[in-house]
Symmetry: C2
Subunit: 691 residues, 2 copies
């Protein structure tokens, strides 16, 4: 969103005039100073494809052409942009590997006397083909040089020294950044502007945390002059630098773990990993249940409760066909068949990676005897190549580059409830986040038809698309309702909607007209806590412990973060919807009641819908500062397609439970980066080598 430069003096463009290219590993870019420019193939002198970007040599060529271009003889424009001017699309589309390249052209945006020059150049002929001066509003993006000069002007402004001194600092203690000003009316026209804001860099490389509040300088970029200086924040302290350092001080992971995984399973069920601890067990109905989820506070070492119990409570899978053979298809898989009962052994290396730990379910037959569902749960550490946090920063004196590899713990099961496969993951992150994912695969429930081509089908008479000859993939929904007994720092919690409400800027001291304001709304009763998600009335959904305040006075909390979702749109009076009325909202909160575990009722099979979450909720009990259960429903609409035939590629959706003012700060600030020396040493298997 903004570029920054330390303001300290530096010597721009000190390089020579040779035909090489600098590497942007220091600032400013030392153009032409180094001989070793050909870093890798794509920087080579020879473009290979019509849309290849300009090479080093080509850029030199363009500049040379522009230098001898008549209108620029007196004054060379500031180059705001220079890119390959791609051939017409038809040329590119018609081009085949081995064909000669179409003429290489460059598109240049230059700025001269506050005017934007748009120039296209043919590299071979050296001709300027088009040259236009923009007459509309707007300027090209600023160059690094523009920004540096503007910042220079700002930090030399005498008022800054005064403002710094008023805060006990000198200008040398500051880092200043240079965000863009936007556009807010005629006053600001005809000039290229920058805003410059300053921070204290004392005691931290993370100066962003230490603003000189209220201080803002408006700089005329071309005149390199501060045209407005405002400092309304002298009474506001600069936030301290303690605990803001995000740099490294030194662990290993790959999906290969020759020393084995780093979680432990004690006594068959108690899982401990990183800062997490929870109890995990197979359940014939729910599949598996995660209980007593606690996380260790990275600051205090305290074990803190997050959740008492979580599991998929019920599913609802209505098909969208009212024929005799189809109308009833409106399954409630957990209560009707059991997500654990239908879970088969997982397939090692394909359902779960190497080094996964497998757990069995001990279930019961109709005769009351036990049977074992072997290997129905797997537990593994995941590393997908992503970072848990990162930041890079380019300063005059140094380049900061800090990133931390993201490793998580996944508990997984897969139920094959007939044709459909539901893989359910609970993924625990070291930053305190829990991500719950439902992945669908397996087979469609298909309907046969007399037709074998769509052209035989009149006006959408079928209840889904044709996915193979004579096969209709009937449209259907999937809903999975999770029971999430949140116990954030203890059983008594409160559900708070943080609504993002649009406000007008009525005082109008600035030309900004509107903004969003977070407004907290505490849910007193169950009715207050029934949520239909909306993109246009956005809210966050917090479960907080009103008795447990952070150091700063924020209530300790977790929020449920919806991601992709779908709502059930059936008639509320339609029997399937009546029975699965727990899908009428995406979120519900109920007071804890040990009999209220199964959203579709304890006895679901052929139930009438008289014992659902919806019925319970309509008692409208008090829920503030009580032991509460959060219910979240994840939905999918599925309009099948040919690619789903004969077996569906996996489709997944997730939601998150995320700490919100639960920790006093980022709990993984001290995470170690990965170094090459820590990674395992691997060789191909015999089998792979022989290939």
């Amino acid at each position: 969103m903004l570029l920054f430069f330390l303001f300290s003096s530096w010597n721009p463009f000190s390089g020579g005039g040779g035909e090489s290219a600098g590497r942007r590993s220091q600032f400013p870019p030392k153009s032409l100073t180094s001989k070793k420019f050909s870093h890798s193939a794509q920087t080579s002198a020879t473009p290979r494809h019509p849309i290849d970007p300009l090479t080093v040599g080509e850029i030199h060529r363009v500049r040379s052409i522009l230098s001898s271009y008549e209108p620029f003889l007196g004054q060379f424009p500031a180059i705001q942009s220079m890119t390959i001017d791609e051939p017409d699309k038809s040329r590119v589309l018609g081009w085949q590997s081995g064909d000669p390249l179409p003429p290489r052209k460059a598109f240049v945006i230059g700025l001269l006397d506050n005017q934007s020059h748009l120039v296209t150049i043919d590299l071979e002929s050296g001709r300027v083909e088009t040259h236009e001066i923009s007459s509309g509003s707007g300027y090209p993006m600023l160059t690094m040089e523009d920004v540096a000069a503007a910042v220079d002007a700002a930090v030399s402004y005498p008022g800054l020294e005064v403002s710094a001194a008023a805060r006990g600092l000198s200008v040398a203690n500051l880092s200043c950044i240079s965000p863009s000003p936007g556009w807010f009316g005629p006053e600001e026209e005809g000039k290229r502007l920058l805003k410059v804001l300053c921070y204290s860099k004392q005691g931290t490389p993370n100066f962003y945390m230490r603003p000189l509040e209220g201080l803002v300088m408006t700089v005329d970029v071309d005149r390199r002059e501060v045209i407005k200086f405002s400092d309304t924040g002298r009474g506001i302290p600069i936030p301290g630098g303690a605990n803001t350092d995000y740099r490294f001080h030194p662990g290993p992971i790959s999906m290969e773990q020759p020393q084995g995984p780093s979680f432990t399973v004690t006594d068959g069920h108690l899982v401990e990993w990183a800062n997490w601890e929870f109890h995990l067990k197979a359940d014939q109905r729910a599949g598996f249940i995660v209980s007593r989820v606690v996380v260790r506070d990275s600051e205090t070492g305290d074990r803190r409760s997050v959740m008492y119990k979580g599991f998929p409570s019920e599913l609802f899978v209505p098909y969208m066909d009212v024929d005799e053979a189809w109308y009833f298809k409106s399954y409630m898989d957990a209560g009707e068949f059991g997500m654990g009962a239908t879970a088969m052994p997982l397939v090692p290396l394909n359902d779960c990676p190497r080094n996964a730990h497998y757990m069995d379910g001990v279930f019961v037959s109709a005769d009351g005897r036990p049977f074992i569902q072997p290997n129905m749960i797997c537990l593994f550490e995941r590393y997908a190549g992503d970072s848990a946090w990162r930041h890079t920063e380019l300063t005059v004196s140094a380049q900061l580059r800090e990133a931390r590899a993201k490793v998580t713990l996944v508990a997984r099961m897969a139920s094959s409830v007939g044709n459909y496969d539901y893989t359910i993951d609970w993924e625990f992150q070291t930053d305190g986040l829990i991500k719950i994912t439902v992945a669908l695969s397996g087979m469609l429930m298909v309907k046969a038809t007399v037709h074998d081509n769509m052209n035989q089908i009149e006006n959408q008479e079928e209840t889904g698309p044709m996915v193979s000859e004579n096969v209709i993939g009937v449209v259907h929904d999937h809903f999975i309702t999770f029971h999430l007994d949140m116990d954030v720092d203890g059983p008594n919690n409160t559900f708070v909607k943080v609504n993002l409400v649009k406000e007008e800027n009525l005082e109008g001291k600035t030309p900004r007209k509107s903004y969003l304001k977070p407004v907290r709304h505490v849910a007193k009763t169950e009715e207050d806590a029934r949520v239909k998600l909306s993109l246009y009335n956005p809210s966050e959904f917090h479960v907080v412990n009103p008795s447990r305040r952070s150091r700063l006075g924020n209530p300790s909390g977790y929020k449920v973060v919806p991601e992709a979702n779908a709502a059930s749109l059936l008639d509320h009076s339609d029997p399937p919807q009546l029975r699965s009325a727990f899908t009428n909202n995406q979120i519900w909160v109920t007071p804890y009641n040990r009999s209220e575990q199964w959203a579709g009722g304890l006895l679901t099979y052929q139930s009438h819908g008289d014992d659902t979450l919806d019925v319970w909720s309509h008692r409208n009990r008090e829920i503030e500062d009580k032991d509460v259960v959060l219910w979240y429903t994840l939905g999918f609409h599925h309009v099948p397609c040919q690619e789903d035939f004969p077996i569906m590629p996996t489709v997944a959706a997730s939601f998150q439970l995320k700490p919100v003012n639960f920790f006093d700060r980022n709990p993984i600030l001290r995470a170690h980066p990965v170094f090459e020396k820590d990674l395992p040493v691997c060789r191909p298997s015999e089998s792979a080598s022989a290939m």
Copy 2:
């Protein structure tokens, strides 16, 4: 959603009476037949935690208690469920490791004479503590035995043989499944019912693709009797079995790749991997651009076009504070600063995994000279431990278990636009899906305050939560608008909204009242293609080639699949929103126009909003069967929290481009499973060994 059993005769419960447990690796579960029951720790005889599930020994004990329980002496109930009856929550919460376990109790649901018995038992005393007979509606989930018996009854029904014969089959050729009936009114009360549906298993293990359409048997589970037989589909062919087999016939992957990655980069830019090929280049403004995306058809080997060009066209990051020093903060990062210009070298092993390939950007300084942004893009194969598809199936004769590990290719860059870091991924899947992810990390833009505790702050006077002493994390949004020049099987494409419309079942031949119907709506002009996403008016969004039909007559297409998103709610007349009016909708489609690349206008800096996507779109040009560009905006609302201090844990959101009737069938049906012998052989590094 449904359980199935092959109907062929089998001999249930043939096991003896010993004290062991079978493994659910064959059907039916052979209870008590095997001595090696103690598969792993969690099946052990000794529970370790208050909420541990019942052990094998405990289940035997419960059954023994029930057997001598007076009300069940005459007739033993069918056990529909038997689970640990967890101690009261307070007990569990108060329990510490090492404490004695609270009394172990079981909760049993038994069915006897069509009545559900709910029984709790104390294992130590052997006493039945509570015993209730349910008086409400609904039955417990069916047992496997219930289902098997009902299916047995159905397949013995004489009418089935007739229906099979009418289709040229014998009953022995069928696989029958047994979905639940739902509940649709008084007619179906007082009986436990199952629906039984049959499929031809001839020539395929994937019988789900071969339904005997229109055939449905309603079975009274307790009487084991077909009470309704309906076959209205004799004129409807059974779909063929060709290409439905999803089993394996025999590659290796882990994040460790001792033989190196399996993609190639030719001539610096042309990436080839699996069935994908595309051109990848760094761009000073967009960061990187993916062009000429083609996928090889797994059936024909044809190289087929998917997209001409895709890239992040513009960003919009408005802060929600109208103070003098804040009101203008409404950044447009691509056009104002450049996503490539601000991309620093990626951090190996932490930003990207081992074996990643790095690419440089060649950019231009203001003096027109080139400079190199080294290692700004990485390209790597990802394996996160997930499956690309799976299915398991339990039959009398065999257990099918098929899963395929999911491996993808990721192209990544990370821009540090001042404080914020944007990591942008393009992930290519072998099933034809492209997933585009934006991940946010880095630093908040914070505002200082006089306060150091929330209790000093009156009525939400601040514009965001306090995230550290004297630090306010100002609420803000992020929007990233992608330019997606889709060329599905060629340039001329049509945008089709497939609306899921709620319909009433007006004919009323069945008691189902409502259903969803997909209704296609072709967008004729730009106005038709402006989309505001809604959970309550759901649609799919297809870009199809109307001239290219599949074997079945469906138009070849790709759909854009939104996931988590957020909408901009600022006043349309607010200057920032006027300039970033490209965020007024989540989806737009425009006719291809080479000058319309940058959603905020080519010249963005201080622009007035007169050259945005919104302005272009309002010309309302024709877009049917034209070369079109799809624009998708991904949004985030960010209400900061303490955990974001001093550096934010990564937050990510995605959307997908997914083939829809583009391939004739699942293109990864023939994917190979992973075997242990193919995986690399690894040992810990010296460094790790020494730890």
